[in-house]
Symmetry: C2
Subunit: 340 residues, 2 copies
């Protein structure tokens, strides 16, 4: 703040952007921009702050007065205010893409959109700014990084490019190597730097060209954090191993085993099915033992009373989540129950 | 052409951009732009065509009438015409960066510059457009891709990020795996696609954050192609193994051996020095046996009569090439002689 004021900037602050940022907060920010004629937006924070700022940047240039029109595709992002970010946690990758996820607590919806014009103009990635991130948020953010690679491309059917599959594995290995270091030694520069760059890569199109992109675990998790306001990355760790177990079959096993062998050190000589199971076990052990995250939804105070409705919402209007294997609301509900 | 004309575009063609594109050709293109009020430049070709187009885009908006002012930093690129590229060979990475290299045959100079505004606005990367690239140009282009990783970052001292070192190795392995396939089976889509994306990655800043960037082999090769107009990628294959041999010592050996083990399949149990030597041998065998490129400057009709002058020019005004180890004109001349 003092640096900006010294430089002669006039500042209007919107403090208190919540995790899973809300459309009402975004609308408040956009109203300030319109009233005060703001020139540029500065997001100092993590994915929630940056996503809210993207929503504000778009809504400030939108004729209507509700960003939810843009999130729900009633209208499209055509123009935005410039965005500068100072990243303070390695997790979402929002610092280097055009996407944002906004929550509507009136309707219990949490959706994202991508717009090229919503890409930050400049992002400052200084690993020392993440030294103060707690062990819990470091673990959750690291899991979020992995989840992007899993969910967008790695665990998918069809289309792939050999180079990118192997690079995705290297980014995953980076998290497996450095997340435990950062959890235990928060001021380890090397660990924080590697996690920060892994974050920016893991939700970035250059890593996924030619892949059938899908995000079924994110669709399932968005319902959890929309209804229960839990930490996104933690919710994903609970879902992913159960999802892999649920979809494990002869067709999916080769990819799951490959992940185990190339990323988690699973013994290559195991059979396809045993290797895939060992891969899922190794991932669970990493999330719940090494990173110390609680492994069950019930640990987060979540029971099954909304599962049926959440499963329907997660599958959207078409009633199906397309992905590695397609999931119906019934499948999603079964996976939620495995997570209890 | 017919597609563009059908779409109602008015076209002014600058055919015959030469390999190692010349400043006189660029100036000719810029003059057309100024005279005809060109709106957008379309580069259909490889690195030479795209680099020439970048020079034209900058020179067309420059007050002076010689692009060499921009290449030689007498003036700086401030504004450019928009650029669209259709890539037809995987090699330089110019399709996804802001750099270009221009040759001045009046002065036997070949220099590059980077300017953010010179970045192509859109690049079409269709692997089928590279099916017709000859075995020789496929081999030279593939070597060029590897050389960018070697020369910009991998073989350097100091600064590094673990994730990026390993990703650089994956891109190198991609070339080692797919270049021979493309040389032998020119219409192999998977090989061409992987090489194309490797090309775009290999001279791209996202792969090198935190590294001490240097380009000593490119400085040495630019003298060769400036004076003798040889194929850039081929020139690099001749230089790189000799350079590595020349600079091999206790300090450089760990990185060279690591390359051998992780990329070329060299036996990890070898001693540091033996492992590094085996790495250099494996690289030479890849360039000269597997890819079938001629291994000596004398094979390209180059003798030693200009070596002294070329060595001085390569080292520039400061008389030293900073890199993995610093090189003086004497060192550069010794390396040229090893290549004869």
């Amino acid at each position: 703040m003092s640096q900006l004021l010294e430089a002669g900037a006039e500042i209007f602050e919107l403090a208190g952007v919540e995790p899973n940022p809300r459309h009402t907060t975004v609308n408040k920010g956009a109203a300030i921009c319109k009233k005060e004629g703001i020139d540029v937006l500065l997001a100092v924070g993590g994915g929630s702050t940056i996503d809210a700022t993207k929503g504000i940047a778009a809504a400030a240039k939108y004729d209507g007065d509700d960003v939810w029109d843009l999130v729900s595709r009633k209208a499209f992002v055509t123009e935005t205010l410039p965005i500068i970010t100072v990243l303070t946690i390695a997790a979402t990758g929002s610092e280097m893409d055009g996407g944002c996820v906004i929550s509507n607590t009136d309707t219990n919806e949490k959706y994202g959109y991508f717009a090229p014009d919503n890409h930050p103009d400049v992002s400052f990635l200084d690993p020392t700014n993440t030294f103060s991130v707690s062990a819990y948020q470091t673990a959750s953010g690291s899991a979020d990084i992995m989840s992007h690679i899993f969910d967008v491309a790695y665990f998918s059917k069809g289309g792939c490019m050999d180079m990118l599959t192997r690079v995705q594995e290297e980014v995953l290995k980076t998290v497996v190597k450095f997340a435990p270091v950062a959890v235990n030694t928060p001021d380890d520069y090397e660990a924080r730097a590697n996690l920060m760059w892994a974050s920016s890569w893991a939700l970035n199109d250059f890593l996924y060209e030619g892949f059938n992109q899908a995000t079924v675990c994110h669709a399932m998790e968005h319902q959890l954090s929309a209804v229960y306001d839990i930490t996104h990355g933690h919710g994903l760790t609970i879902i992913i191993p159960r999802w892999l177990t649920y979809i494990l079959n002869e067709e999916t096993a080769p990819v799951i085993k490959r992940f185990g062998v190339n990323v988690m050190g699973v013994d290559e000589s195991l059979s396809l099915m045993d290797g895939a199971k060992a891969a899922i076990d190794a991932l669970s052990a990493f999330f719940f033992d090494t990173l110390g995250l609680k492994s069950r939804l019930s640990d987060l105070g979540i029971d099954d009373k909304s599962f049926e409705e959440m499963s329907k919402t997660a599958c959207g209007q078409n009633g199906v989540l397309h992905g590695f294997t397609d999931l119906t609301p019934k499948d999603v509900e079964a996976i939620y129950r495995m997570c209890l």
